[in-house]
């Protein structure tokens, strides 16, 4: 039994998730992590599951056509080891090429890693929200200054705020 990545992309309509997961359930596959969203109205879903590759592929066959479906075998699961405290990064401003690249490059050069990211464009307004982990050794002041400079060059606003959870 291998770990599989199933991606489903296509025009949205009610019932896609039910159709896809029903087909998968029929193969005895176990859904593990998944995420789904609408990207400019397109249905987009990624599922990591464990099950028999051939059966999963053929169970999804009838849904191909309106939907672009891929099934791939994944390598061994890598447990994500957090590298440090969490932050939420938000960027917003007038749309222009290069915002995501420039801002995420700053995070990467501070040794940070992004664990979740969403970008949305509505009219002229571009909005980026990301969950970021920064190593304890990262110099927050320098990173914030670097982000400010980058944001200024791009003409956008950027905020990096702590997102630590409280144990209750």
């Amino acid at each position: 039994m291998s770990q599989l990545a199933v991606t489903v992309i296509g025009p949205d309509r009610p019932g896609i998730i039910a159709d896809v997961t029903e087909a998968l359930a029929g193969t005895g596959v176990n859904l593990e992590d998944s995420t789904m969203t609408l990207l400019r109205g397109h249905f987009a879903m990624v599922i990591v599951c464990s099950g028999p590759f051939d059966e999963v592929k053929s169970a999804l066959e009838p849904l191909r056509g309106e939907l672009v479906i891929t099934v791939r075998t994944m390598g061994p699961e890598h447990e994500h080891a957090p590298i440090g405290p969490s932050y939420v990064l938000s960027v917003h401003g007038a749309d222009r090429p290069g915002i995501v690249a420039a801002v995420t490059r700053m995070i990467a050069s501070a040794g940070g890693t992004i664990t979740d990211l969403t970008t949305r464009l509505s009219g002229e307004l571009y909005v980026l929200t990301a969950e970021v982990e920064l190593p304890l050794t990262a110099d927050l002041e320098i990173l914030n200054r670097a982000l400010e400079i980058t944001a200024e060059e791009l003409g956008v606003g950027v905020t990096l705020s702590p997102a630590e959870s409280d144990e209750l």
């Binding site: 969203t37 994500h80 080891a81 957090p82 590298i83 440090g84 405290p85 969490s86 664990t115 979740d116 969403t118 969950e131 982990e133 304890l136 997102a163 630590e164 959870s165 409280d166 144990e167 209750l168």
Partner: protein
């Protein structure tokens, strides 16, 4: 004496019984999804449970509150102590409350919560930051009313939810508001 003095003056020694450390149960244990029974605050078994909740809370690093369902008992009782938490403004010290209900809640704010019973996830939850709760201290019969704010308000709502069979997972602020727990170093 004011209510604040009554609660702040309350100490676990008033229970007259030593607590012991109980095992904290984890989701998906069914007791965590069960509405707790109303308790008799004079019942010796409940005084013992109150003492157990405090001791178990004390030995759990970073724990500021513990509800009866978290130790496997579907009952309306929890222990709380936010005294040393940096986000605390008003604090009533350490206390146990029975049959607590929210009387008034306002000024919702989002915050990220973790829970000993859901060790692998955290989640963003909106909670009132101004809160009035009524309940009974164990070993007494007179209801007390607690008005508080900030972190104590959040913790109270989290514990009252436990007593009603609800977890923070039932209240998350959106489809992308549950996160894998971050444990680093």
């Amino acid at each position: 004496m004011t209510v604040t003095e009554v609660i702040s003056g309350w100490t676990p020694s008033q229970l007259g019984v030593d607590g012991e450390v109980l095992e904290v149960v984890r989701a998906p244990h069914p007791v965590l999804a069960t509405e707790g029974a109303t308790v008799d605050p004079l019942d010796p078994a409940m005084l013992k449970l109150a003492a157990d909740l405090i001791v178990t809370m004390r030995v759990s690093p970073g724990c500021v509150g513990l509800a009866a369902p978290q130790v496997g008992v579907a009952a309306q009782m929890f222990a709380l102590d936010v005294t040393d938490h940096p986000k605390t403004r008003t604090s009533h010290g350490v206390f146990v409350l029975c049959n607590a209900v929210v009387v008034e809640a306002s000024r919702q704010e989002k915050g990220r919560e973790g829970c000993m019973s859901v060790p692998d996830f955290t989640g963003d939850v909106k909670r009132a930051t101004r809160l009035t709760v009524s309940g009974v201290l164990p070993g007494t019969t007179e209801p007390v009313t607690i008005t508080t704010d900030a972190f104590e308000a959040r913790a109270l709502q989290h514990e009252i939810d436990h007593c009603n069979g609800k977890l923070f997972l039932d209240r998350v602020a959106g489809a992308h508001a549950v996160y894998p727990r971050k444990v680093y170093q």
